[in-house]
Amino acid sequence: MNKVIYLDNAATTKVAREVVEAMIPYFTENYGNPSSVYSFASKNKETITKQREIIADALGAKANEIYFTAGGSESDNWALKATAEAYKDKGNHIITTKIEHHAILHTAEYLEKNGFEVTYLDVDENGRVRLEDLKAAIRPTTILISVMFANNEIGTIEPIKEIGAIAKEHGILFHTDAVQAFGQVPINVDECNIDMLSASGHKLNGPKGIGFLYIRKGVKIRSFVHGGGQERKRRAGTENVPGIVGIGTAAARAARTMEERTSKEAKLRDYLIRRVLEEVPYTKLNGHPEKRLPNNANFSFRFIEGESLLIMLDMKGICASSGSACTSGSLDPSHVLLAIGLPHEIAHGSLRLTLSEETTKEEIDYVVESIKEIVTKLRNMSPLYEDFVKKNKK
């Protein structure tokens, strides 16, 4: 096989043809600034409204509750920092989890340096938040609960509806980072009592550099980017019209194809998981066995290190990712894998494969064969495996 087998769709996705085609006129023909008075440009305002409606429909929200941003990280930063600022008179306590994306974790750490107190909830061995832990963490000063909808590494889907109910019962705002979940699983903000939700375009076959924050009407957070009066004066900057058309088109497409696409992906994903667990010894599936994103598989292979595995997969044309320290630029492996209780050396040997609707069974078969070959090769090279084999012989 000479072609690239792309199994890193949690990192980013291919922009769908229909998305690109919808965007192109907004670069070269309808390039006007939506804030301008003349009709040539101002009709772009209607285009933006239409995208807002599409996204609101997908979430069971209202169009004027959708605020476009430059992506998931900005949305997360905005939700946390602006809530902290707006509600600081009510309290200074925020609850989140140990398995959030760094866009949440590092923002929470920043807030801690600025006088806020943050509780980072533990998760169970499958990566799910325990509701009793959440309830126990709530204080009279708690102003925000932020729990991701689904985890980007291990794919576990959190009990968002139950968390939303707890937040509502206590009168606490609830934000969810849905960057991985939006377009992959059905989301209804009212059913889940979600007050704020972050999402990003490039995870759902849309373009990079565009995202949104859903802010429920009545949530009093202010602008994060100051300047002009765009986005109902809550997010300044000339609108990224092609990007907005891109994320709107991608959201419509994701909603339209969700059922068929995700059931196809989940079926192949389950086939992949079954084969790897059956055919590669000393291997573990990370994340919840059922409550997980339809395209996510995450394994730990004992006695080997993730970066070596990634390089060898790359030489076979396979794109994947790992929670190994060497891929993160620090000495510690993924915080998510440590939070689900994996020992360091096992966390270093993790592999995340995230499928797309274009992934085929032939590709999965090739990937499984490649994994088997590479894992064997790396284990033969590993002093940890040598010790393990010798110990077992005794």
Partner: protein
């Protein structure tokens, strides 16, 4: 990110394996940080390294530096081997990314640990050889800075 030489040594590691009844064995690093290296030395009565093998748990750079280190000490006297520094290993590989330089330190340390084991077993003292640290990362500090 890696040079051609690093990729070559990663894909085709030299001297990978074990030596039964080796004259000296050294294991350094720890699994917590993601790399462990083990070096086996077969040293003859003239203190010449006749054979050397390695096993490594770690990233591409860790495997490549182990492989290169074994090449640099093979056929050398124990005193020549002692002079093989991590810098020599890095240079022989045409360089390493800055975040991976610690892997080359591990390779140097593994050779020293194996020589130390050899000296202990034979009741000799090798001038200039210090007792190996149990964990190469003990003294390292994280460099990340958040704003």
């Amino acid at each position: 990110m890696y040079t051609e030489k690093v990729m070559d040594h990663f894909q085709n590691p030299r001297n990978m394996g074990e030596i039964e009844g080796a004259s000296g064995v050294g294991t350094v690093g720890n699994a917590k940080c993601g790399d462990i290296m083990r070096i086996y030395l077969d040293i003859d009565e003239n203190q010449i390294i006749q054979d050397v093998k390695f096993k490594t748990f770690g990233c591409g750079a860790a495997v490549a530096t182990s492989s290169m280190a074994t090449e640099l000490v093979k056929g050398k006297s124990i005193y020549e081997a002692l002079k093989v520094t991590n810098i020599a290993v890095v240079e022989a590989l045409d360089g390493l990314p800055p975040v991976k330089v610690h892997c080359s330190l591990l390779a140097e340390e593994a050779i020293h640990a194996a020589l130390w084991d050899y000296a202990q077993k034979n009741g000799i003292e090798i001038e200039g050889l210090e007792k190996p640290k149990s964990d190469i990362h003990e003294d390292e500090e994280e460099e990340s800075e958040e704003y």
